[in-house]
C-alpha cells in the first residue's frame, strides 16, 4: 500500500506564470509517454510478474513515477496562476481553460485525453520489460523536446531532474530484463512465457 509524504521529490519554485509552457508540459502529466502512463504501466504489469525481484522493481519505479506525476502537476499549477483573460487567449491555453479552468486534467498537449490504450500490460515478462525500456526512452525524448522549448531556468531545472531519472529507469529495466532472461532457456528465451505457462508450450 502507499504512504504519502508531503514534499516533492525535487523542488519546484516557478515565479513567472507561463500558460503556453503549461500547455506543452501537460503531455508529461496525461500524455501517451507521460508520468501517469508510466506509473499505471508498471503498477499494472507487476501483478503477473512471476519473479519477485522484478515485480518489486516495477512497484518501486511505478511509485517513483507517481512522485514525478506530482512534480509535473506542481509545475503546471505554478505556471497557470494569476492569469488574465488576455494572457489565456494569447497563449493558446484558452482551449484547455474553457473545459478545466486551471485545474489539472490528464491529457496530452494536443488535447487527446489520457487513455489506457497508451500503455500495455501484456502479461509476458520479456514483452512487458521491453515495453518498459521503450517507455523510458519515449519519456526522455519528450523531456528533450520540452527542454528545447523552455527558456526559463526555473522550469528547466525540475524538467532536467525528471529527464535524468528516465535514463536511470531505462538502465534498471535493462537489468530487470537480463534477470528474467537468466531464468529462461538461453537457447530459446521465447520457449515459454514464465507468467503463464507451467511447461514449455512453444518451440
Amino acid at each position: 500500500m502507499w504512504n504519502y509524504e508531503k514534499r516533492l521529490q525535487y523542488p519546484v519554485k516557478i515565479s513567472k506564470p507561463n500558460p503556453r509552457m503549461a500547455q506543452v508540459i501537460i503531455s508529461q502529466f496525461g500524455g501517451p509517454d507521460g508520468e501517469l502512463a508510466a506509473s499505471m504501466r508498471y503498477l499494472s504489469q507487476r501483478y503477473s510478474m512471476p519473479y519477485r525481484e522484478v515485480s518489486g522493481l516495477l512497484t518501486d519505479i511505478g511509485t517513483e513515477e507517481l512522485a514525478h506525476l506530482e512534480i509535473v502537476g506542481a509545475i503546471i499549477c505554478q505556471l497557470t496562476k494569476n492569469l488574465t483573460p488576455e494572457e489565456i487567449t494569447a497563449s493558446g491555453f484558452d482551449k484547455y481553460y474553457v473545459d478545466h479552468t486551471t485545474a489539472l486534467w490528464p491529457q496530452a498537449a494536443g488535447g487527446i485525453p489520457f487513455n489506457a490504450c497508451e500503455f500495455q500490460s501484456k502479461g509476458d515478462a520479456i514483452t512487458d520489460l521491453t515495453e518498459d525500456l521503450a517507455a523510458e526512452q519515449k519519456a526522455r525524448t519528450t523531456y528533450d523536446n520540452i527542454l528545447r522549448l523552455v527558456k526559463d531556468p526555473e522550469i528547466s531545472d525540475p524538467i532536467r531532474f525528471l529527464r535524468a531519472r528516465e535514463v536511470v529507469h531505462f538502465q534498471r529495466f535493462g537489468e530487470g530484463l537480463r534477470m528474467v532472461q537468466e531464468q529462461l532457456d538461453s537457447r530459446n528465451f521465447y520457449a515459454f512465457n514464465p507468467e503463464f505457462d507451467k511447461v514449455k508450450q512453444l518451440q
Binding site: 504512504n3 504519502y4 509524504e5 508531503k6 514534499r7 516533492l8 521529490q9 525535487y10 523542488p11 519546484v12 519554485k13 516557478i14 515565479s15 513567472k16 506564470p17 525481484e53 518489486g56 522493481l57 518501486d60 519505479i61 517513483e64 506530482e70 502537476g73 506542481a74 499549477c77 505554478q78 505556471l79 496562476k81 494569476n82 526555473e154 536511470v168 529507469h169 534498471r172 537489468e175 530487470g176 534477470m179
Partner: protein, 99 residues
C-alpha cells in the same frame, strides 16, 4: 531566520531521501552490493533524523510522524507540496460542520 532553517532541513531531507530512492532501485537489481547497502542505510538514517527535526519545528511530513501531545491535528493543514512559486493555498476559515 526560521525560513532559512526550514529550507535547510528540507534540502537535507530531499537530498538524503533522493539517495534512498535511487539506491532502492539500484538494490532491486543489485541486491548483493555491499557498498550500496551501506550507503542506503547511511542516507536513510540521515533522512530520518532531518525529518524528525523538521517535524518538531514545522509539522509532520508523513501522517505517521504526527507527534502526540500537541493536542492539534497538524497533518491536514501542512502546506501542499506543489505550493511555491506562484502557487499558494489558504487554510479554511472554518472547519466543515455536519450539524
Amino acid at each position: 531566520m526560521n525560513d532559512n532553517r526550514q529550507d535547510q532541513l528540507m534540502k537535507q531531507i530531499n537530498e538524503a531521501n533522493f539517495s534512498v530512492n535511487d539506491l532502492t532501485l539500484y538494490l532491486d537489481t543489485h541486491p548483493e552490493d555491499q557498498d550500496a547497502l551501506k550507503l542506503f542505510h547511511q542516507t536513510l538514517k540521515q533522512k530520518k533524523e532531518a525529518a524528525q527535526e523538521y517535524e518538531k519545528l514545522y509539522g509532520p511530513l508523513e501522517v505517521c510522524m504526527t507527534s502526540e501531545g500537541t493536542g492539534k491535528w497538524t497533518w491536514g493543514s501542512m502546506p501542499a507540496p506543489w505550493e511555491g512559486g506562484t502557487c499558494q493555498c489558504g487554510t479554511m476559515k472554518s472547519g466543515s460542520n455536519t450539524l
